[in-house]
């Protein structure tokens, strides 16, 4: 079958997994029944245990679904500690359902797949050796990629049923009141893990830092927690996020950032109490810096910034230029540390942040979202999942959610990366539909989605802004790098990418080598 972004989907798998094809970004007003976890009742007096192995033996069975969060990023020790034991104990047919996967987990997952311990994965993304392994057919069942908002929705609606959540935290009390803000391995917001804490049947905290009861502020609460496991070291603080955020010197990125700033300032949204989301990455950080100056010059303050938060954003908070930071995840040490001292840096869970099936998520209050792309095509469809070689090396993250919610979604990307064109006739994998993308900014020109006539009118006569068609940008890129040979895939589906409402927006095939 073909979906509404013209992607062929495998009928057999779609039927087997009872999935529907993507139709529209419009969520409508469906009435959804949520699920609730099973609760083993205790008074909570003896949750602290030394033996992680015993906890696993007492709670995990073959075929169950286990989950983890990725807030420790590449400084994560929790995942490998748990998986080592699960592999050793010889479990089979587990479904791995983390909020996302980071590089430090790759080797362990590949080992677990090869031994039949893990047979299903759903994640926001995967990179490096694991992405390569899956793209070459290493996992029998297709990976299901879900955005952060979609994961929250899937958990709430029972599509992901977490049996045991293993959640690493830098601080907890013996009852399980925990947060991400104090201790050695601080990562700030626990946003993604809060879904697991609320909905998993069993919640196992792992920490190297147990403090006297009660520990506040409590992001994860004692009434949700079954066990608190004491471990030696839960994470490497130096690898959780980049240290001091470096301001890019790349002239291409700076030029793009300046153009982004110009587009925002000249859009109808740049007024008192506007709101924005910027990701990480060189151009996005530079945008924050230019935006700061524009806000000072025009005497404008923002009502909030949301998303993965970086230090330049918390700096704006401290300066009074941003009134609130809605924080689901922190990308660097500065932003993580800031949460403990700024009460206006509000921790939000993944549902509050981006879930399409609730009574209104933060992304729906968003004016401007600045996102990146591995590829974008002439229909404005964006790929943040597969490289130009067709291999999985990315993550949906909050891309679909933020693009759908924001009034103006801007994609920033260099026209080409090395010899790979970024603006292409058709992306390898559609992750975010062009329907929710408004502006593409490259160093060679700006393309505005033709359906946004208001933005074309507002931006066409701004001095210095070179507005062109996206077809022109695509041709410019092709002229520079040449026409690539079409990639070859086998018929086998190695992953399905869901849209935020759970419909399937694209299928990723096994690469041919």
């Amino acid at each position: 079958m073909e979906n509404n972004v013209k992607r062929q989907l495998p009928d057999d798998l779609m039927n087997e997994l009872n999935l529907k094809a993507y139709e529209t970004t419009d969520i409508g007003h469906p009435v959804e029944q949520r699920v609730a976890p099973k609760v083993r009742v205790t008074t909570g007096q003896d949750k602290v245990v030394d033996s992680l192995e015993q906890v696993i033996k007492d709670n995990l069975k073959d075929g169950m679904t286990i989950s983890f969060h990725h807030h420790f990023r590449n400084g994560d020790f929790a995942f490998n500690k748990v998986m080592d034991l699960i592999i050793k104990l010889g479990y089979k047919d587990l479904t791995l359902a983390p909020s996302s996967l980071t590089g430090v987990m790759n080797d362990k997952i590949i080992e677990a797949i090869k031994k039949g311990v893990i047979t299903n994965i759903t994640s926001s993304g995967m990179r490096g050796s694991l992405g390569d392994f899956v793209s070459h057919g290493g996992l029998k069942n297709p990976v299901i990629f879900r955005s952060h908002g979609n994961r929250a929705r899937s958990i709430e609606e029972g599509e992901i049923k977490i049996d045991v959540a293993f959640l690493g935290v830098p601080i907890s009390d013996p009852a399980g009141n925990a947060n991400g803000q104090e201790g050695d391995a601080v990562f700030g917001s626990l946003g993604y893990a809060l879904m697991d804490a609320q909905y998993a049947n069993k919640v196992v905290l792992l920490t190297d830092n147990i403090v006297p009861y009660p520990n506040t502020p409590a992001s994860i609460k004692q009434d949700q927690v079954d066990y608190v496991v004491k471990v030696d070291k839960i994470g490497d603080p130096d690898k959780i996020g980049s240290g001091a955020t470096r301001f890019t010197k790349d002239p291409k990125e700076l030029k793009i950032a300046q153009m982004v700033n110009q587009v925002i300032v000249n859009s109808p949204y740049f007024k008192e109490d506007f709101s924005f989301q910027t990701g990480s990455g060189g151009a996005a950080l530079a945008v924050t810096r230019y935006l700061r100056q524009a806000m000072i010059d025009k005497g404008i303050t923002a009502s909030f910034a949301v998303g993965g938060i970086t230090k330049p954003t918390t700096d704006l908070l401290e300066e009074g230029l941003v009134r609130k930071v809605m924080d689901v995840q922190d990308f660097d040490k500065g932003a993580a540390a800031s949460m403990a001292k700024n009460r206006d840096q509000q921790e939000i869970d993944a549902s509050w942040y981006a879930d399409p099936h609730n009574k209104g998520a933060v992304v729906n209050n968003l004016d401007v979202s600045i996102l990146s792309a591995l590829q974008i095509d002439t229909d404005f469809n964006v790929n943040v999942m597969t490289g130009s070689d067709g291999v999985i090396r990315g993550a949906v993250g909050g891309h679909q959610d933020s693009a759908a919610g924001a009034k103006m979604t801007i994609i920033t990307a260099p026209l080409v990366r090395g010899r790979n064109a970024t603006v292409v006739p058709s992306v390898e994998t559609v992750v975010t539909p062009g329907e929710s993308i408004d502006v593409l900014i490259t160093e060679r020109g700006i393309a505005i989605n033709p359906k946004r006539k208001d933005l074309i009118d507002a931006l066409s006569n701004v001095p210095g802004l070179n507005i062109v068609s996206i077809e022109d940008l695509q041709k410019m890129a092709e002229k520079q790098v040449g026409k690539p040979k079409k990639l070859e895939y086998t018929d086998r589906t190695v992953a399905l990418v869901e849209y935020r409402d759970g419909t399937v927006i694209d299928a990723i095939k096994q690469v041919k080598d």
């Binding site: 130009s388 090395g418 010899r419 790979n420």
Partner: protein
Amino acid sequence: MEIKTTGVAGTLESSDIQIMVSKGNNGIEIDLDSEVKKAYGDEIEKVITDTLTKYGLTDCKVKATDKGALDCVIKARTLAAAQRATETSEKPDLEVL
């Protein structure tokens, strides 16, 4: 044109290509390592072959390590490596470019 030594040109920096031309007797044999081999491997080999042929080389071994170079870069590096291999760098044949 006769190959006298092994000629190397280019670096392993992003968007560059390193070309090593050495003696061979079985046509132009190219050993290509490229990040974009699937999409552009044929094109890269064609540019190298055409450049060498134009320079008058018909038998040589080429080791090419590509980091996403554009065609103009591939031509220039191939030509420089060919000149060094044939020890003709003193009187470069710019027409080939």
